[in-house]
Symmetry: C2
Subunit: 246 residues, 2 copies
DNA sequence: GCAAAAGTGTTGTCCTTACACCCATGC
DNA sequence: GCATGGGTGTAAGGACAACACTTTTGC
């Protein structure tokens, strides 16, 4: 809350005028947000993309983006874009980076702030199909419009790092999940094979898993136990590592 | 490089017009960059601040910032601000976050992208003193203009995390440094006491330190060896940890 | 009964931690 | 000679990596 909020346009104090004039002297720039919406299905990391509206990018894939509205917070804009494009709210969303190369948009200078969101594909059955909205396996995407290939690469790296330090994987899975599903998420995102016994030991040792006393159904093999992740406990106890580690 | 760069204003193709019109329909916003310039001296983490020009913030401290110029990249703008305010170039600079609350500036909506920079206080003797440019110990700063307190807190957290995973500390020290100096950087930033023997073992085990065969001078006790950090070797060998760690 | 994945323990290695004494220099 | 920090080693405990067999279910 600043003083100027309480003052209408006719009645600015000298101080406020000073600040207003200063800001008026700044060049202004069009701003967008882009959402990199990750999902996980069929043992692969996927990302939700549409086809570009612009003629010079015809047929090329783009991230879900929109311009930021007057007086709209970037976080709010990202939430709005996500809602408009997918119908979902309550999705994990985090600011990743702001991209500003003057030539990144053929229509002129546009600066974009990129958010990553992680959601459970099964929760969202793609009711909207505007601009051929579809899930694409991340490692099969070849060409994209604008600088979106580079942005996607940055976000994939971000996710790779982030998932090792924070319990993001659980945002990609159903509320109740099996340890195999959890391990598949890690293996797909990190692109490695993990030892099953060591993985289970490690995850169990965190103490954040809750046994639901339920089992998988509709699997063609011995069903595994289903667990939930105790976010509440995690937020209380998350570790505070101190040291050097590079 | 996009096609539109090669076309002058009189001769836009239909595709480009399409994109240009789209961008013209976007609202525009004034943009700034702010640099959080960390330094280290007298065993304390410090940050370079000035006094605000704005009357309603009279006497309050602010980060070093400026508006982004037309067609200027954010990275370039941050480098420019740093150069203008401190005279230094070749400084470690990294984008941290973009802040966008509509009421964060009393002069109206301004969005700012924040960069952190780390430099060696001894290399820069504060030749400029505009707006009472001075080093302030981070943990003694109470009040700041705008949302700069919050931004500084975000950057301090960022630094705390970053310094544990990357060899940033060396950007705060002279090229040749003693192990005690290095340890002080970690202790000040992480706000912990570290065991001297274990610290030295750990740092030595990375293999990135080069013994210079020189010793400290002008110290009031037994002089320690001076080392340099082998950034080249680090970039070749930096570890690629895979696992879960939260 | 067979395919597919669930579930489970042990051992060796390595890293981390805790801890104490003598040494070199400036004053 | 005394104050200040430099420089060093070891032992115990904890974390991680490697590794194989039995069990349960669907078909």
């Amino acid at each position: 809350m600043t003083e100027s909020q309480h003052i209408d346009g006719q009645n600015l104090s000298i101080q406020d005028k000073n600040a207003v004039d200063l800001v008026k002297s700044y060049p202004t720039v069009p701003l967008t947000v882009d959402c990199v919406i990750f999902g996980f299905d069929e043992n692969a990391l996927k990302v939700l993309l549409i086809k570009s509206d612009l003629m010079q990018f015809q047929g090329k894939l783009t991230l879900l983006g929109d311009n930021v509205q007057s007086n709209e917070d970037l976080d709010t804009a990202a939430i709005r874009v996500l809602k408009q494009r997918t119908g979902m709210s309550d999705v994990y969303l985090e600011q990743v980076h702001t991209f500003s190369k003057p030539d990144r948009h053929p229509g002129g200078r546009v600066i974009t702030t990129v958010y990553a969101s992680l959601l459970n594909i099964k929760h969202y059955e793609l009711l909207l199909h505007d601009n051929e909205l579809k899930w694409h396996p991340v490692n099969q995407i070849t060409e994209m419009a604008f600088d979106h290939s580079m942005i996607l690469e940055t976000c994939t790296q971000w996710l790779r790092k982030r998932i090792q330090e924070h319990p993001l994987a659980f945002n990609l899975l159903p509320v109740k999940f099996s340890l195999r599903q959890l391990q598949s998420v890690y293996e797909a995102i990190l692109n490695v094979k993990l030892d099953r016994r060591n993985f289970r030991k490690k995850v169990a040792s965190t103490g954040f898993l809750c046994d639901t006393d339920e089992m998988e159904t509709n699997v063609t093999h011995r069903p595994g136990k289903l667990y939930t992740f105790d976010f509440k406990l995690y937020n209380q106890k998350k570790r505070n590592f101190i040291g050097i580690d590079f």
